[in-house]
Symmetry: C2
Amino acid sequence: MTQTHDTLSDFEAQFGDRLVLDEDAQDLLFREARTANTFSDEPVSDAQMRAVYDLVKWAPTSMNNQPLRVVLVRSDEARARLVEHMSGNNKAKTQAAPLVAILAADTAFHDELPRTFPHFPGARDLFAGDDAAREDTARLNAALQTAYFIIGIRAAGLAAGPMTGLDMASVDRDFFPDGEHRTIAVVNIGRPGEDAWKQRLPRLDYEDVFTTV
Amino acid sequence: MTQTHDTLSDFEAQFGDRLVLDEDAQDLLFREARTANTFSDEPVSDAQMRAVYDLVKWAPTSMNNQPLRVVLVRSDEARARLVEHMSGNNKAKTQAAPLVAILAADTAFHDELPRTFPHFPGARDLFAGDDAAREDTARLNAALQTAYFIIGIRAAGLAAGPMTGLDMASVDRDFFPDGEHRTIAVVNIGRPGEDAWKQRLPRLDYEDVFTTV
């Protein structure tokens, strides 16, 4: 069957705005998923975290540099230390969540490049002498991976409660004494509890965000 | 039916590592999706970009601040300007892609907070006097949104080619003369072409990334 230009335009007008991802997955990851403020008592297992990582590890980073490091805070002692660094209402949320993860950027990510970017042997040395470039690259790509991790938590049927209201420098000193890590966010993880969220907040319109040149 | 603790542990051992997201969606977004280096000639429509945004806009940012701004580079004139700012091989990729998007952080995001975070009227002023906090917050959250956008492009059945190998400051000056935007990445978008990708690069192991305290 020959398609005329008009037919293609009609097709576009009718279906051009449709996604390939199925509606259930859209809802699970984006439309019905919400930042949870309360959680049920159900624990979150290491197996679930492994499944999340085994999925989201495939998402892209610059030069495959993968700077994200994750600390799962499981002991009461470590939880108490972390709560001290959180701001305001985030203290109670962090105290109550079934699992809390500290997400940080490893500024020594370049030491892995011979393994993760093997076809460019000079990659490690490119970063070794430039602390500022390493810091910027680590922060940007760990932030990308933080977002992938949030989507992955939702893919496991769990709710994420990402927080940046905390004393990042204090968490760095307390949990990463090597001085090479920069905390990006703390994420509460679990099944949503009672009154887990308020009314959804407004999003910017397409026209506010996108321009064409 | 009563479940004993042992039964739950057996369940966990067998299924605790399974994701809720269906396998097709896992493949589409993560496992089979790849960073494309070549593209077909098929154009990418504004309707597709709207569909992507209407999905990924729901993903979380700090205080719902949504600093990401996207410039769709559609004119030959703007494309030629952008190509000049790209590094090495990224010039040819940027020249050839069906659609190229500049993703940037708007450091004036706080002007939208009265609309996007209305229950905290002091939110705008909290940032108005602190340029450094505004810059850091804008960069972190625009990076999260860059990752959501990459996932959204894949949800539309398209391939993304995100690039950070470019002169960010030059793109800022050229495309954002207001001085308030910071380029995060340039993303090529389209259907994958011939030899669109090389062999998949190795990912870090779970044990390299996760620790428990």
